[in-house]
């Protein structure tokens, strides 16, 4: 039986994610664990997370999960969600600047505070539903988007966003004060800034795509 491992490093509540994966994973078993050995034995891995990046990196290190994630990311499909996506990049400017896992070249930066005289004030955190435009670096969207209409709505809650160095690592974009990377991808790694487990049917569809993904981009 194939297994999807959900990395439980104390950064957020895994209830909804676990339930959502159970809904879409078919015959696979969902393993929620902080044990590196148990997780590395899974066929796919999900790195969730809410909160601050410093605490997240500290916990990953303390539980010896950072090396496991890097190791696992060489071979099998890996999905980062929200803060779990942000730590896939080189570095985050949150908490005064924190080095992250470095699996996708680029930084995580804060949304600019809105100017005081702005006509419509845009608030930080970016909280709520926004549309995601699917990138087409090779003319067609990544297979992870299969069956999902372009510009579908997803649920976001965040103050920082990924800024990948290479355009080819941008999997999808959204608009909030500017165009930003709402999803990233590199080889067998994907990351979503939004919460698919909170994004109703399109979110479940996307999680289902990951649950059956072989790690190829097309």
């Amino acid at each position: 039986m194939e297994k999807i491992g959900v990395i439980d490093y104390g950064m957020g509540n895994l209830h909804s994610l676990g339930k959502a994966l159970e809904r879409v994973a078919g015959n696979q078993r969902i393993v929620i664990s902080y044990d590196p050995e148990e997780l590395i034995a899974c066929d796919r891995l999900v790195l969730p997370g809410v909160g601050g990046v410093k605490a997240a990196m500290n916990e990953l290190r303390r539980l010896e999960l950072n090396q496991m994630v890097i190791e696992a990311s060489r071979k099998r499909p890996l999905l980062g969600i929200c803060l779990g996506m942000q730590v896939l990049l080189d570095r985050s400017e949150e908490n005064g600047g924190v080095p992250a896992l470095g699996l996708i070249p680029g930084d995580v930066i804060r949304f600019p505070d809105p100017p005081r005289d702005a006509v419509e004030r845009l608030k930080v955190p970016h909280m709520g539903w926004n549309r995601v435009r699917q990138s087409r670096p090779q003319g067609a969207p990544h297979v992870i988007w299969a069956g999902i209409p372009d510009d579908s709505w997803f649920y976001f809650v965040h103050s920082y966003h990924a800024a990948p160095v290479q355009a080819e690592h941008v999997l999808g974009e959204a608009e909030y004060t500017k165009t930003f990377a709402a999803a990233v991808a590199r080889d067998n790694i994907v990351g979503f800034q939004f919460h698919p487990e909170k994004s109703q049917s399109v979110g479940l569809k996307l999680l289902g795509n990951f649950a059956h993904w072989n790690g190829e981009s097309r």
């Binding site: 957020g12 509540n13 209830h15 909804s16 339930k19 959502a20 809904r23 879409v24 078919g26 809410v50 909160g51 601050g52 505070d113 809105p114 004030r121 845009l122 608030k123 930080v124 955190p125 970016h126 909280m127 709520g128 539903w129 926004n130 549309r131 069956g147 999902i148 209409p149 579908s152 709505w153 649920y155 809650v157 965040h158 608009e175 909030y176 487990e197 909170k198 994004s199 109703q200 049917s201 399109v202 979110g203 479940l204 569809k205 289902g208 059956h212």
Partner: protein
């Protein structure tokens, strides 16, 4: 572009959805899981649960209800009512709530908001503000904060209070007009505008919706980021879908859910 949110509010009493006027004359409005599923299917962007028996000791029932609903829907769920300690916050989040709404406890001890948001993140801490207009006609408008379901005056200015709560770590404010609640005469848009102009976090408008036009006014006149309503949805007067169609026709950006067959 970020969509404005439409949020049905469910009052929960002893494991059931109830409706009543100002917490009186409670009538059964169904099983929470069924009601939540219905609103999810209609395109609700989020759900708010208010435990109206919070002062009683029926917490285990609430946790069970939250768990059952959180397993059935895949949109954000906020739970409020009687949240007093970080242990309460943790228990609700573990039961499947995405956000927790704090009201009376924030007034009693504002630092509780900081403790909760430091520990669980600002994104899951909503502060509920119940405000009543205290200025006379002709005077500059002024609102005060009330606690204990609107029964207890605090002497706190609502606008100052909103700013203080954000500085203490509230990630979102749920602003209810006690004057309008249950009246179906529309939100207190002056109150909403005063608060939305004063704080840099999202504001949910609450209290007084009787028509779809009221929803639109809370967003345009009040400047709210989300509109909460109970009776217009519970009574069957309107579906969430109708509300969104109305808002779309009036130039408001709302999420249009795409029904997708999900591989199971």
């Amino acid at each position: 572009m970020l969509a404005k949110r439409v949020i049905p509010c469910l009052d929960i009493n002893a494991g059931r959805v109830v409706k009543g006027v100002k917490f009186e004359d409670l009538r059964d409005a169904g099983d929470p899981v069924e009601v939540a599923r219905r609103y999810d299917a209609q395109g609700a962007d989020e759900l708010v649960f208010l435990d109206i028996t919070a002062s009683s000791d029926d917490r285990p029932t609430l946790f069970k209800t939250v768990e059952a609903v959180a397993s059935a829907i895949f949109i954000p769920l906020t739970v409020g009512g009687g949240v007093r300690t970080c242990a309460d916050v943790r228990a609700l989040l573990s039961a499947g709530a995405d956000k927790v709404s704090i009201n009376t406890s924030a007034v009693l001890r504002p630092d509780f908001v900081t403790e909760a948001s430091d520990r669980y993140g600002v994104q899951c801490i909503v502060v509920a503000i119940d405000a009543k207009r205290v200025s006379k006609k002709g005077q500059p408008p002024r609102w005060e904060i009330f606690t204990h379901g609107g029964r207890k005056a605090t002497g706190l200015d609502a606008i100052d209070w909103a700013s203080l709560m954000v500085s203490k770590g509230a990630g979102e404010l749920l602003v209810t007009s006690m004057d309008r609640d249950g009246t179906k005469s529309g939100y207190d848009n002056e109150l909403l505008r005063a608060i939305t102009d004063a704080v840099p976090v999202p504001v949910i408008a609450s209290g007084g919706v009787g028509t779809l036009e009221h929803l639109e006014q809370g967003l345009s006149l009040g400047g709210a980021d989300a509109v909460l309503a109970a009776s217009i949805f519970h009574s069957g007067q309107h579906t969430v879908g109708e509300a969104k169609q109305y808002l779309t026709r009036h130039g408001v950006t709302v999420r249009s859910p795409v029904p997708l067959a999900v591989t199971i």
